[in-house]
């Protein structure tokens, strides 16, 4: 089986969908002639032509708005935000127009908005963001965050096929660091709204997503080797609609939950998950639900600063030990 990077998996997913359905097209900044800032769309222009790989002006709101209009007419646009940090330039179009279109006007808007999110790359405040919390609050959008190469491919394909707008937050740190064997002849589709059991365990659950999954797995290994703890890791994969059932099943099993995300603490998605666990599985908790998240500051650039602000494996280990001892 060929070894495929996370980035290549996204490419393959989009390529396969564009081959399968002539209504799928890509628009964004530098996606065509240049092949994308990270080369995710390298080769697409030559294969699919300028009509289906559109180089846009620097106009995130227009990119999203035009994608919406085309989606109303039966197209399946994939709009790229060069860095997901720039998605906030289209916050109005996404939350006011796109998210509400089906509900208020019966206007189907099957579109994907994707882009590289995340830090640990010394990118500073505007090339490292994780914006999921800003959009979690918006009824009408779906949000997916693949951690593995397999899910990167499966989720981009599922997102394209979904009848509703999907925000696809890929993680730039994972682009070339994650390599997996992916079968070339299998149609890989990951269901939206379903979590993945990344590691089975029975003492404690870590609920997480995206690049944090790998830190959670590292922490789990360390906790197993050093503390004899059996840690379960749930990779949510989709944040909206969230797989409550998978979370609660794990809570019922381990009774101790740590939620970990790279986004900042206040208003981060961990708060939402905690409220849901409190609501749905309180009787099964043997300890408070704890969270590990970035400190509440804009993400600084200097390595020592970024490493301090963002969650590290050590932070997860410390939090898990606290939970285990509670």
């Amino acid at each position: 089986m060929p070894e495929v990077t996370y980035l290549e998996a996204i490419r393959q997913g989009m390529w396969e969908e564009m081959e399968r359905d002539e209504n799928v097209f890509i628009l964004g900044e530098d996606v065509g002639a240049y092949g994308g800032a990270f080369k995710v769309t390298d080769g697409f222009l030559e294969r699919f032509g300028a009509q289906r790989v559109i180089d846009t002006p620097i106009s995130e709101a227009a990119i999203i708005g035009a994608a919406a209009g085309a989606a109303h007419m039966g197209f399946r646009p994939i709009a790229e935000m060069q860095f997901i940090d720039f998605i906030s330039c289209a916050y109005d179009m996404l939350t006011n127009y796109v998210a509400t279109a089906r509900y208020r006007a019966g206007l189907p808007t099957p579109m994907v908005v994707r882009g590289p999110s995340g830090g640990y790359v010394r990118g500073g405040p505007f090339h490292s963001q994780n914006p999921e919390a800003a959009f979690l609050h918006t009824p009408g959008l779906k949000i997916v965050c693949p951690a593995t190469a397999r899910d990167a491919k499966g989720l981009i394909k599922a997102a394209v096929r979904d009848e509703d707008p999907v925000l696809y937050f890929e993680h730039k740190y994972l682009y070339r660091r994650i390599k997996e064997d992916l079968p070339a002849d299998e149609e890989i589709l990951t269901p939206i709204g379903k979590a993945r059991l990344a590691r089975e365990g029975h003492d404690l659950t870590i609920v997480t997503w995206s690049a944090m999954v790998f830190k959670a797995l590292e922490a789990a290994e360390q906790l197993s080797a050093e503390d004899g703890l059996s840690v379960e890791v749930i990779d949510l994969r989709t944040l909206l609609p969230m797989d409550d059932q998978a979370i609660m099943a794990s809570v019922r099993k381990t009774n101790r939950v740590l939620i970990a995300h790279e986004d900042t603490r206040t208003g981060g998605v961990a708060g939402e998950i905690t409220a849901r666990i409190n609501n749905d599985a309180f009787e099964f908790l043997d300890a408070p639900v704890k969270r590990v998240a970035a400190h509440d500051v804009p993400l600084p650039y200097a390595p020592a600063l970024e490493d301090f602000v963002l969650p590290q494996t050590d932070d997860l280990v410390a939090a898990a030990r606290w939970l285990a001892a509670y």
Binding site: F25, Q51, R52, I54, T56, P57, S59, E60, A61, A62, I63, I64, G65, A66, A67, A68, G69, A70, A71, H72, M73, G74, F75, P77, D92, M93, N96, Y97, T100, A101, R102, Y103, R104, A105, G106, L107, P108, P139, G140, K142, E163, D164, G193, P241, N279
Partner: protein, 348 residues
């Protein structure tokens, strides 16, 4: 030599229209105004839910321009709050509009959105949202879809003098222009954005001058002259259809009822209102039709009566209808899953 008593033939109808089409334009303008007058009456009886936004004085701008698109070819337009006339031209019915304003279960949006915020591509007009400027990139996307499929279709979007200050207007028209999309942009300059006069909106002499920033042509016309509006829009629509790209049309007009029924219009002087009242688009058109001999006061009165009957029937039908059931609020956010979850305290 013609006898002094002979009746000379009426002048040739401009813009290649037939007499029937001239009367169509009158019908839609009168329907717009009369429907809004009905809505005012219902509003005063508290039967209209929420605000009422009239287009009194702008009927020619909305109707004349909408009439210039080709519905048979599948052209689509995007109305704003003062473009009820354009929606009626596209086939929106008084029943639909009344249901929307009165929050009835059978309204096109099933009570989800208000007043004239409704429409799908199949109907020929797209439901607007309140954030001004946002419809421009969306219509750019619809025009893009026409171009990508090689379809012979045109998109048309309205903006006001206020909307032209927004970022989404700028991004949308710029995108359409650089992509050379079949989009017509109609800027209705009615002098105010709520209470803000156009002089505070932009430093340009004429709003049409903004076209230079996008590398597209612009044209200005008297927004209260329905035939002029039709002609200038028709040329822009034809231009778009032949692949020449975007045109910005500025129509000068005036809204005589302020921003909404609840607006006290303190910022509009009596003198200004009187000046524009004398320039009423429907009165002007009646004079034009009758003095040119294209129609008669009797024929126009017939149309007025037909409209009055139509509206009476529509109101009688809609008034007793029910509003939507509370539980219906949870469906349709997504296709799948189809319903939002009920709150734990709400499960009954």
């Amino acid at each position: 030599m013609a006898s002094p008593n002979s009746v000379s033939a009426p002048p040739a109808i401009p813009a290649g229209l037939s007499v029937e089409q001239l009367l169509d334009l009158y019908y839609y303008m009168r329907l717009t105004r009369s429907l809004e007058e009905r809505l005012v009456a219902l509003y005063r009886q508290a039967k209209v839910v929420g605000g009422l936004f009239r287009s009194l004085g702008q009927e020619a701008d909305a109707v004349g321009s909408a009439y210039a698109i080709d519905q048979d070819k599948g052209d689509i337009l995007s109305p704003l709050i003062r473009n009820l006339g354009s929606m009626l031209v596209c086939g929106a019915t008084p029943v639909e509009v009344l249901r929307q304003y009165m929050a009835k279960a059978e309204s096109p949006t099933h009570g989800r959105d208000l007043n004239i915020h409704y429409g799908t591509p199949q109907q020929g007009f797209i439901g607007q949202i309140s954030h001004l400027g946002d419809m421009v990139p969306v219509m750019g996307g619809i025009a893009l879809s026409f171009k990508m499929r090689g379809e012979d279709r045109v998109a048309l979007v309205y903006v006001g003098d206020g909307a032209m200050s927004t970022g989404t207007f700028h991004e949308g028209i710029n995108f359409a222009a650089v992509q050379r999309l079949p989009l017509v942009v109609i800027a209705e300059n009615n002098g105010y954005a709520f209470s803000t006069p156009t002089a505070k909106q932009s430093a340009v002499k004429h709003l049409a001058d903004k076209a230079a920033a996008y590398g597209i042509p612009s044209v200005r016309a008297d927004g209260n002259d329905v035939l002029a509006v039709y002609e200038v829009t028709r040329r822009a629509v034809d231009r778009a259809r032949s692949g020449e790209g975007v045109t910005l049309i500025e129509l000068e007009t005036y809204r005589r009822k302020g921003h909404a029924e609840h607006d006290d219009q303190s910022y509009q002087s009596a003198e200004e209102m009187e000046r524009w009242e004398a320039d009423d688009p429907i009165d002007r058109y009646i004079r034009q039709l009758t003095t040119s001999g294209w129609s008669t006061p009797a024929a126009l009165a017939d149309i007025d009566r037909r409209i009055a009957d139509e509206l009476a029937a529509a109101v009688a039908l809609v008034e007793p209808e029910a509003g939507p059931d509370a539980g219906t609020a949870l469906s349709g956010v997504w296709l799948d899953p189809p319903e939002a979850e009920r709150e734990w305290y709400d499960r009954g």
